[in-house]
Structure formats: structure tokens, C-alpha cells
């Protein structure tokens, strides 16, 4: 929404420095960078693998990713893509990653609900049976699905990184509600819990998620030291990939398209000039 306002301003106005959000505040996401940014950006496969591990071992306990299938991990551009297995359903590493996870299914002979190891064709299983169970187990608010989270917040992966590394003790005068934690990068209005000066209300809000990451919580197979910052950066990269697995394909196609269109415009311009050469206009 803010970007739309700026798009308009860029068309000729220099009026605005920046809008202030009236009801909620949050800190601007940190200036962090990833390999996939920009028109030529590509996902760092190792990083997205580490990010998947963080999701699987930490986040998936509470957060679903209902739009992801195990086979997505092995498709082109994905963290476990292997050129020897263009069909991700046959990729043995993907099959073993899926096999580690159990999913619910219906036994076609008895009609009962059973658990079985997942196959690449299965979706990532949700940690709770439904929205209500998720909310009930988490203080009344269901942990949001993470499939497109990197696109659902201003700043995308930068927001995710800032939020995860941003948990801190509330400043004196600020008392979070029971079961909530203070994070300056989480959009919220803490003025109701602030006893200090009314013009100095701290930025940020109270989030129902306790700080999920600690140093060495996840052991990375490639030996990368797993600091909180590294874990946050990697899981943000994984979520960025998960939000749009076709990003690399899009940019590659785009390069071809732009070059073609530039040449095409040149040809048409020359043709146009030639046709109009003798006409006074």
C-alpha cells in the first residue's frame, strides 16, 4: 500500500517524506541482503536447504505450509533439485525427506484414519487438525500459514529476519500481556501497556510467538555455524523460495523477453522511420 503511494509520488510529486501509520507502528526491517534479490538473483541452494531444516525442526511444530508439497523440494530451482532426476517424484533424496515425515491418510479398506510415511506427492502436513485446534493450542490465535508469508508482509524476507532476530526485553515502563512477547519489528500498538510519556511510545507490538530461535538449535549439515542470525537468514531464504518457487524461472524468461523486446523495438523504429521519411508531419 505504501509502495502504491510512492509510485504515484514518483510520477511528478516531491511532496512527501513518508507516511506515518496512525494506529500501529513497527520498526523498518533491517537492511539485510540475499543472493536471490535483484533481476539476476538466484537462490543459494545450500542456504535454502539449511532454511528447510530450520522450518522442519523448529517452525513446523506450530506453522503449517499448506501450499507446499514434498516434490517441490526437488523441482528445478528448489533446494534439493538434482539434474539427474528431472522428475522430482523420483528424486531419492526427496523421497527420503518425505519418508521421515508421517501424514494422515484414509485406509481404503476400513475407512479409518491412519498414519503413514509421506511420499513426494504429499503436502507438508499441518501441525494441527484445523484452524480452531491451532488457535486453541496457541493462546487464541492460530499461528499463520507460512507458504506465502515472504510476500504477505512489507519487506518480505527482511521482515522475517528482523522479526526473528528482534525479540528483546521490553523497555522499562512497557509490560507485555501474559503469554505475549515484545518485538519492535512486529506491527502493533503498545500504547495501552506503556506507562511512560505518551509521545515516546515504543515501536512494535506484542506477538504470541515466543522467540523461536536459539544458537545451535538446528545443526547444519554443511557445518555452517548456526547462530540465531544465520538460522533466521536461512529460514527467511527458504520462505522466500517457498513463496515463489518459480522466481528464478521468471527472471530468466524475463531476460530473454527484455532483450527480444528491445531488438524488436529497434527494428520497428527503423521500419517506422523509413516509411515516414518523405512525409511532412
Amino acid at each position: 500500500m505504501l509502495r502504491k503511494g510512492f509510485a504515484f509520488a514518483a510520477l511528478g510529486l516531491a511532496l512527501l517524506a513518508g507516511p506515518a501509520l496512525s494506529a500501529t507502528t513497527e520498526k523498518e526491517p533491517a537492511d539485510v541482503h540475499w543472493s536471490f534479490e535483484g533481476p539476476f538473483g538466484k537462490f543459494d541452494q545450500q542456504q535454502v536447504q539449511r532454511g528447510y531444516k530450520v522450518y522442519r525442526e523448529v517452525c513446523s511444530a506450530c506453522h503449517s505450509m499448506n501450499l507446499l508439497y514434498f516434490r517441490n523440494l526437488g523441482q528445478k530451482g528448489g533446494p534439493f533439485y538434482d539434474p539427474k532426476y528431472p522428475n522430482p517424484n523420483t528424486n531419492p533424496y526427496v523421497k527420503s525427506l518425505a519418508h521421515d515425515i508421517t501424514v494422515k491418510d484414509i485406509d481404503t479398506e476400513t475407512g479409518d484414519v491412519i498414519s503413514r510415511p509421506a511420499t513426494p506427492a504429499d503436502k507438508f502436513p499441518a501441525p494441527f487438525a484445523n484452524e480452531y485446534a491451532a488457535a486453541a493450542s496457541n493462546g487464541g490465535k492460530a499461528p499463520p500459514d507460512l507458504s506465502v508469508m515472504a510476500k504477505a508482509r512489507e519487506g518480505g524476507p527482511r521482515y522475517i529476519y528482523s522479526l526473528l532476530t528482534g525479540f528483546r526485553d521490553p523497555p522499562p515502563g512497557l509490560t507485555p500481556m501474559a503469554g505475549k512477547y515484545y518485538d519492535p519489528w512486529f506491527a502493533g500498538d503498545v500504547s495501552g501497556n506503556w506507562t511512560g510519556h505518551k509521545d515516546k511510545v515504543p515501536e512494535g507490538g506484542f506477538i504470541g510467538m515466543p522467540p523461536p530461535l536459539t544458537p545451535n538449535k538446528v545443526t547444519f549439515d554443511d557445518g555452517t555455524p548456526s547462530t540465531v542470525q544465520q538460522e533466521a537468514k536461512d529460514v527467511a531464504a527458504f520462505l522466500a523460495w517457498a513463496a515463489e518457487p518459480k522466481a528464478e524461472e521468471r527472471k530468466a524468461f524475463g531476460l530473454g523477453a527484455m532483450i527480444y523486446l528491445l531488438i524488436f523495438s529497434g527494428l520497428l523504429y527503423a521500419s517506422y522511420k523509413k516509411i515516414w521519411k518523405n512525409v511532412g508531419h
Partner: protein, 439 residues
């Protein structure tokens, strides 16, 4: 202007078809040999761009409809399925979503061009009216279309706009319930919006056909605003303007491609990546950028019904423009005084757009708390919207009629081919002659 056809069927098949359904003759007369003023500048290429974009939206839309599921439980996920699993689905979706923005960008340039060169003036009033109808249909289509992804902004935007109808006295609430198909925006609403979104573009296509027909009766306007006097003033549409339009289209495609491939979500709202939740309203509900000026005017008026009427009035004003403009001179090239007001008008529309993007009580100059005037801070976007909305209406209802009567236009050339008379003193000033001769 429509002259007599110069088409001569060459082969036997052509002659056979020509006596039964003269479609090749029609195509020849409309697109190939149609005499077009030879001085059209690049602002005239946007009609062609618009035709391309309508075609693009229809083709990509029909394809998306093969995969999209118009049900509240499946809509959001079906679009993600298009982005992830359907072959080139990401491309088709990006083309369609950004295509809507590019369509509106082109239509705004097209409309502003018409305002500047007086293309709405006699004898092109019906052409202009058809254009206004197309614009209105585009707004409806875009509104229905934006609801379909069923994100937070889709849903709550639908809630806000359908609730506006409820402001109409007596009949309002029943019309709203009728529109919803229930007690709130829900599955019946989504399904019917999908049906209407699929239908309206074909209605637009029909009106576009009438629009082009209405254009071909008097022929194109041109930057001088002077009528075509002879064949010497024109060139055949092909190849002069087919290729020029082609070039303009290819440049337009570069901008379009930049969005589709490198910034596909830049013109959208992040909140629409959160599935619709009727129990939770997003921080700021805003429409897509091309509807922001109307949104600003709606919110500028403190009364709900008056706000709706104001928003309706600003579109309705366009329809009566040909009768508000009293000038005998068509093109603002020769109307230096109103030209200034016109450029301020463009700025005004941009300001209205920015206002629409902000919360009403956000401060324009941040940090500076101005004096309270009536119901809001003077430094707030509410007051900026009000001033801008006032100028919008004043430009059409006050400035345009007045300027036509009071300003002194520059001398208008005799014809398109003739040079502009270099001695203004030797040419009769003021507008006395009829538009046919001088305009």
C-alpha cells in the same frame, strides 16, 4: 472521414466473398486504407495499445479461468496452484494482474490526450460518451476481478464498496443484500463476481467496436484540432500508423515486461497474500492504484451518502464534458490559458491518488500538527483530499465553461498541411466562426 471504398477484389475467391460478406472490404477500409491525419503524434498510439491490452486481458483471463476455482475455500489456493503447478501459470497470472494496471495506465493517458486536444468536442460527442462507458465498464471489471483472489484486500475491498450501495436511501440495504446474495460478502458473492468479471470484457469489446465505428465517421482528431480538408492532409492507416502503433506498442511492452518479470507484486498490496478473514480487517483498506483518486473523493466527504454521490458525480462529470466546454477552439495547443489549468488538473489527479493511498488522518507534512479545522487537522490527508476534489469539480464545471468564453486563443492554422500563420496580428483573434471552419 468515411469516404467511398477503394478496395478492388483481385482473385475469384475475393470477388465471391465480397458479394456475400464484404469482410475483406471492411477490413481494408477500416485498417488499411483509412485516411488518417498525417500529423498524429505519439499520444495517438494509445488507442492501439488499449486494443492490444483488451485482447491480452481476455486471452490471459480465459486461460486463468481454466484453472481458477470461484469458491471461498479454494479461490486463494487455486491461484497459488496456477503460480506453482500450472505450466507457465506464473507468467499468465502475472500478465493478467499487471495487465490490468497497464490497461488503466494506457486508458488514463488516452483520456488525458482527449482532454488536451478536445477530441470530445463536436462532432465526436458520441465517441466520447462511448469511451466513458468503456471506462466505467473497465472500473467495474477491475473491481470484480480484484475480489477473485480472495485475499484480505479482495474481501474487505468488496465489503467497503458493496456497503456503499447501502447508503442509498430506502432501497440501499435491499440492493446490497441482493448484490451479496446473503448477509455479507461470502461465497455467493464471489461466484457471481466471477461470472460478471468473465462477462463484462466481452461487453467492453462490443462497445469498443461501436467506439471505433463512431471514430471512423468523422475520422481522427489531430494535434491542431483542425479538420482534415483534403487528401493531402492524410496518409493511409497502413503502413504509416500500423507501424507507428506497432513501435509504440513494443515500447509499452517493455514497460509491461519490466513489471511482469521483475516487479510482479509492486503495484499490488502485500495484504492480498493473506487469505481473506471476515473476522479481521487489515490495517488500511485501499483499492488498486488506478481507483485511488475516486477513493480519495469518496472519503473526502464526511457524510456516507454524499461521499457516494460525490464519487459517482466525478465519473458522471466526464459524460457531460462535451457540453461544458464552450470553446470554439479544439486543441489546447492554441489555448494557453486553460492549458495551465489543465496541467494543474493532471497534478490534482495525482495528488488525489496519493490521498487515496493514505489513511485520512495521516499528516501530509509528517510531524507537523496543524490547526484543527471542522472535523480534522488541516495538515491531514482529509483536507488535502477535499481541496483536490474541489479543484477536480471546479476544473470541469467552472474553469472549462468559463475559459471557453473568456480566453483569447492563439491563431489556429488553416489546415493540417499549412504552416501556422506566423503573424498573430494578421489573423482574426477570438472565436466567432463555427467549429467546422476554425476548430
Amino acid at each position: 472521414m468515411s469516404g467511398h471504398s477503394t478496395y478492388e477484389p483481385k482473385t475469384g475467391i475475393e470477388r465471391w466473398l465480397d458479394t456475400r460478406l464484404p469482410i475483406i472490404r471492411f477490413a481494408n477500409d477500416t485498417i488499411l486504407t483509412f485516411p488518417t491525419p498525417k500529423n498524429l503524434n505519439y499520444w495517438w498510439t494509445f488507442g492501439g495499445v488499449l486494443s492490444l491490452m483488451l485482447g491480452m486481458q481476455i486471452v490471459t483471463g480465459v486461460i486463468l479461468a481454466m484453472h481458477y476455482v470461484p469458491h471461498v475455500d479454494y479461490a486463494f489456493n487455486s491461484i497459488q496452484r496456477i503460480m506453482r503447478d500450472v505450466n507457465y501459470g506464473w507468467l499468465i497470472r502475472n500478465l493478467h494482474a499487471n495487465g490490468a494496471s497497464m490497461f488503466f495506465l494506457a486508458v488514463y493517458i488516452h483520456i488525458f490526450r482527449n482532454l488536451y486536444y478536445g477530441s470530445y468536442k463536436a462532432p465526436r460527442e458520441v465517441l466520447w460518451l462511448l469511451g466513458c462507458i468503456i471506462y466505467f465498464l473497465m472500473i467495474m471489471t477491475a473491481f470484480f476481478g480484484y475480489v477473485l483472489p480472495w485475499g484480505q484486500m479482495s474481501f474487505h475491498g468488496a465489503v467497503v464498496i458493496t456497503n456503499l450501495i447501502g447508503a442509498l436511501p430506502i432501497v440501499g440495504p435491499s440492493i446490497t443484500t441482493w448484490l451479496w446474495g446473503g448477509f455479507a460478502v461470502d461465497d455467493p458473492t464471489l461466484n457471481r463476481f466471477f461470472s460478471l468479471h468473465y462477462l463484462l470484457p466481452f461487453v467492453i469489446a462490443g462497445v469498443v467496436a461501436l467506439h471505433i465505428w463512431a471514430l471512423h465517421v468523422p475520422g481522427n482528431n489531430n494535434p491542431t484540432g483542425v479538420n482534415v480538408k483534403s487528401k493531402a492532409d492524410t496518409v493511409p492507416f497502413h503502413p504509416y500508423y500500423t507501424v507507428k502503433d506497432g513501435f509504440a506498442i513494443s515500447v509499452f511492452l517493455i514497460i509491461y515486461a519490466a513489471f511482469v518479470f521483475y516487479m510482479p507484486d509492486a503495484l499490488g498490496d502485500v495484504a492480498n497474500y493473506v487469505p481473506a478473514n471476515p473476522l479481521q480487517t487489515p490495517q488500511h483498506i485501499v483499492p488498486e492504484w488506478y481507483l485511488l483518486p475516486f477513493y480519495a473523493i469518496l472519503r473526502a466527504v464526511p457524510n456516507k451518502l454524499m461521499g457516494v454521490l460525490a464519487m459517482g458525480a466525478d465519473i458522471a462529470t466526464l459524460f457531460v464534458l462535451p457540453w461544458l466546454d464552450t470553446s470554439k477552439v479544439r486543441s489546447m495547443r492554441y489555448r494557453p490559458t486553460i492549458r495551465l489549468y489543465y496541467f494543474i488538473f493532471i497534478l490534482d489527479c495525482l495528488v488525489l491518488g496519493v490521498c487515496g493511498a493514505h489513511a485520512p488522518d495521516d499528516l501530509v507534512i509528517p510531524g507537523v500538527s496543524g490547526p484543527q479545522f471542522l472535523d480534522a487537522d488541516l495538515n491531514s490527508y482529509v483536507w488535502l483530499s477535499r481541496i483536490s476534489a474541489l479543484y477536480y469539480f471546479a476544473y470541469f464545471w467552472v474553469i472549462t465553461p468559463l475559459m471557453g468564453l473568456t480566453e483569447t486563443p492563439l491563431p489556429v492554422p488553416e489546415s493540417i498541411s499549412a504552416p501556422v500563420l506566423s503573424h498573430p496580428a494578421s489573423a482574426p483573434t477570438g472565436a466567432v466562426a463555427s467549429p467546422e471552419k476554425r476548430g
